[in-house]
């Protein structure tokens, strides 16, 4: 079977890219080894965080160009999110009611002030709040919170709903969605990609395509290997916790400038607590296994302690579940999005804050694929920045 494009991976990156490619009129098949949305895309915190990350703040001077690009991209993403429920014709439990980045210590405050100055200079809408203003806006926060940076666009969306909505739309637009199909081989043959996959039944299938999109998430490196490529994406395990429902009292996305924390309350009343605490990846014979990472109780307790310190009202709430997911990170923490020059027709969409930016990355990537150029440059994310890793790959 021949397609214009084969997309490998049924997470947000894969489903959204398949959807935009199908919308642009390409014939598309998406191959997923398990079920749609069962990877990081269905297990993440669902935070829409637009404030700058640490990395960018710490090296603001050296990264001035990148900063500018990033803030401009953030603006594109914000606009994209505002229209996404209409675009996908699905309710997604989207809330963009603002987010607070908290500070408790003098050091935190210093960092926050620096951050605010950089962001404002770049044109990102943020307001620095002192203790009293923070209390007034968010009375559920502990008096220990001495300042906060408020960004009105931040919020959350339900990861349960977003990726399936893209998958449904892709299917409506004619894309074929093949689940329980693990891709085992991708080879360049003439001017086409030849892809083999093993179906759950054991049957082996083969497809050809002009374009191949590697959207295998934390496993993008493994998939890259099948095309004789080093794509530096490394799996990490992360932890999330959810409490029982309670009356709405947390009205923002809460993050912390000096500690690992993300917290929000969804419309149904559950409080979600995470923020980058690690979970142990399963391994065997020195290889990472695709299974779910193990909860690390010390990390779990530290995560909840951090949350409790800034929001004392959560103490009596019962934790329903702690879960873990595996996401992919790159050596420079920027995503890998774009074409791989040495492998014509090979594209990658992996890494980064792939929920907040996933829809936008996918749309821009599909523009790059179908028109040769994206409406907002993807240059900083080009996989070619790691071309040196493939220099000797023959």
């Amino acid at each position: 079977m021949h397609y214009d494009a084969l997309v490998i991976g049924g997470g947000l990156a894969g489903c959204a890219t398949a959807c935009y490619l199908a919308e642009a009129g390409l014939s598309v098949a998406l191959l997923e080894r398990g079920e749609i949305n069962r990877g990081a895309s269905g297990q993440n915190a669902g935070s829409l965080h637009f404030q700058l990350e640490h990395r960018l703040i710490h090296h603001a001077d050296a990264l001035a160009d990148e900063l500018q690009h990033y803030v401009a991209l953030t603006q594109v993403a914000i606009d994209h999110w505002r229209g996404i429920e209409a675009e996908l014709e699905s309710p997604l439990e989207l809330a963009m009611h603002g987010g607070l980045m908290l500070a408790e210590t003098d050091e935190d405050i210093g960092l926050l002030e620096r951050k605010a100055a950089i962001e404002q200079a770049q044109g990102l809408e943020v307001t620095l709040l002192d203790a009293a203003q923070t209390q007034a806006r968010a009375p559920y926060l502990s008096p220990a919170v001495r300042a906060a940076l408020y960004c009105p666009h931040e919020g959350h969306c339900n990861p349960r709903l977003l990726t399936p909505a893209y998958a449904r739309k892709a299917k409506r637009l004619g894309a074929s969605i093949v689940t329980h199909c693990a891709v085992t081989e991708t080879r360049r043959q003439g001017n086409r990609w030849r892809v083999r996959g093993a179906l759950g039944s054991g049957e082996v299938c083969e497809w050809t395509s002009d374009v191949l999109v590697n959207a295998a998430g934390a496993w993008a490196m493994d998939l890259g290997r099948m095309a004789n490529l080093h794509l530096p994406v490394f799996p990490v395990g992360l932890l999330m916790n959810v409490t029982e429902r309670t009356a709405l009292f947390i009205h923002h996305l809460i993050q912390h400038v000096g500690r690992r924390l993300s917290m929000k309350q969804v419309d149904d009343g559950n409080v979600l607590i995470g923020g980058g605490w690690s979970a142990r990846l399963p391994q065997q014979h020195g290889q990472w296994l695709p299974g779910r990472p193990q909860v690390d109780m010390a990390a779990l307790r530290a995560n909840l302690r951090t949350a409790l310190a800034v929001a004392p009202g959560i103490e009596s709430l019962r934790v329903l579940r702690s879960w873990t997911g595996t996401t992919g990170i790159t050596p420079d923490q920027l995503p890998l999005i774009g074409a791989v020059s040495r492998a014509p027709g090979y594209y990658v969409a992996a890494g980064g804050s792939g929920f907040t930016y996933g829809p936008t990355y996918a749309r821009l990537l599909s523009e790059l694929i179908t028109r040769g150029e994206a409406s907002h440059s993807l240059a900083p994310y080009s996989p070619d920045r790691f071309a040196h890793m493939n220099m000797f790959m023959g």
Partner: protein, 473 residues
């Protein structure tokens, strides 16, 4: 804290294992979330409250004897009113997360026995969440532990013979029973009799059961076959129950009530499901059984699971009743001693021999019971109207799930469906909807069961952070 052998569950399986392992010198810790030992079969009254004639029937005497023996053991530590929230394999063995009176803490054990028992199989039908509709086993637990009848006029609907025993216990405790409905056709009695070789070695059970039936008949309680409660009605609480012929529902036809009975309690008794969350969270191998408890752990002849140092016994390996549970517990206790190197293999084999002999015939009996007492997938599916509540915690109806399936035809595994529909995402972690949710999936291609997560039972953030973790990473 550490221990040689941690046992989760102080029912017949856990108590029997504790007795044997302790007798071979292992330091044993038994953890159970109930205030007192005994498990489901001996649901004990609270210590403060004296019940004169607590479970006097001879049928309970083996377990009562076991309970007496167990509580006299010296090198056994009993952590009652303590819930196991989760477990993981560590270099030293198994680490358990506990939640008891003093908050949360960790217990590291060389070995772990999971003997967590079972719970009543929940069934969805219109009105199944109305106050007054109860699990039959739940009614029994109430009577056993309190000697109080939780209602006035009872109707029982189901497929499990336990219905007759509970109906009899209700009568004896002073309640009124309107009828007992069995979804199976009357020919089920003939089928049972045809298998009498499997029944004969268990005269005590048969006698107990026959006496209960005789008492019901004497009191004029109608026992009807081929009928089922298809709708519970009432204004805020149960007032009447509609009854439909099983055949109608099995054929997928809409319910056509043949009768309606006024009552304030409806007992639902279609059998039991294994409490397998802990075993599945740890990653033990298991398989799905429609008739013997849903997802059950797989064990070898010594009740060893697929995981090193982890044993499973009792209902969690497949529903078999209290006597099977007790015998499996004995084997697990021997195996723990054997694997710990304190019991030579010959001695272990010798001691296991009578237990294995007893188990052979008990398994035959249990298999027969499981097969005959299962209502069949068609009947359960027939009861599930679109409006019926499937997931009580998240208020998801059968219709919500079938719509999600229709809109997302690429979802074929139960965890994907859970993520799409919220069914199973609530307080009980899906214990109450997993079995039925599975029946809505036309084909199963992925995982067979919900991924069981920490904590197995909800625990407050305050309790969690007050605890400590030995290992900091």
């Amino acid at each position: 804290m550490r221990t040689d052998l941690a046992i989760v569950g102080a029912g017949p399986a856990g108590m029997a294992a504790a007795r044997i392992a302790a007798s071979h010198g292992l330091a044993v810790t038994v953890i159970d979330e109930q205030a007192r030992a005994g498990g489901q079969i001996l649901r004990q009254p609270p210590q403060a409250f004296r019940v004169d004639r607590w479970l006097t029937d001879r049928i309970y005497s083996p377990q009562q004897q076991l309970l007496r023996q167990s509580t006299e053991l010296t090198n056994v530590r009993w952590l009652q009113a303590t819930t196991v929230l989760g477990a993981d394999l560590v270099a030293e063995g198994v680490r358990l997360q506990l939640n008891g009176a003093g908050g949360t803490c960790e217990l590291t054990a060389d070995r772990l026995l999971i003997a967590t028992g079972c719970h009543d199989m929940p069934v969805s039908f219109p009105g199944s969440t109305l106050p007054g509709v109860m699990a039959t086993g739940g009614i029994q637990a109430f009577i056993k532990s309190q000697q109080i009848v939780p209602g006035e006029r009872f109707l029982f609907s189901g497929s499990h013979p336990l219905q007759l025993i509970v109906a009899d216990q209700v009568l004896q405790a002073g309640g009124d029973v309107a009828a007992v409905l069995f979804s199976q056709p009357p020919s089920v009695i003939g089928q049972a009799l045809r298998h009498s070789p499997a029944l004969l070695p268990h005269p005590g059970k048969i006698l107990y059961f026959s006496r209960a039936c005789a008492r019901l008949l004497r009191r004029g309680v109608p026992v009807r076959f081929g009928q089922v409660a298809s709708c519970a009605r009432g204004d805020g609480r149960l007032q009447s129950v509609e009854i439909t012929a099983s055949k109608t529902l099995q054929n997928g036809a809409p319910s056509r009530p043949v009768d309606s009975i006024d009552c304030d309690r409806l007992g639902i008794g279609f059998g039991f499901l294994a409490n397998s969350q802990l075993a599945s969270q740890l990653g033990a191998s298991g398989h799905w059984s429609d008739t013997a408890g849903g997802w059950v752990a797989e064990v070898d002849a010594w009740m060893r699971s697929s995981l090193p140092g982890v044993y499973v016994a009792g209902e969690t390996t497949g529903i078999g009743g209290a006597d099977v549970a007790q015998r499996e517990g004995e084997l697990a206790g021997l195996a723990a001693a054997l694997d710990a190197g304190v019991l030579p293999v010959d001695a272990a084999n010798n001691q296991a021999r009578p237990t294995r002999r007893a188990l052979r015939s008990l398994y035959r009996f249990a298999d027969l019971l499981s097969r005959l007492s299962h209502p069949g997938a068609d009947l359960l599916r027939g009861l599930m109207t679109p409006d019926s509540t499937l997931c009580k915690c998240e208020e998801v109806s059968v219709g919500d799930v079938t719509t999600a399936l229709k809109n997302n035809p690429f979802a074929t595994d139960i965890n994907a469906l859970k993520l799409l529909s919220r069914c199973g995402m609530g307080l009980c972690q899906g214990r109450y909807c997993q079995y039925q949710l599975r029946s809505l999936l036309a084909e199963h291609r992925g995982e067979a069961v919900f991924q069981s997560r920490f904590p197995i039972k909800p625990v407050s953030i305050g309790e969690l952070v007050s605890g400590t973790s030995d290992q900091i990473h």
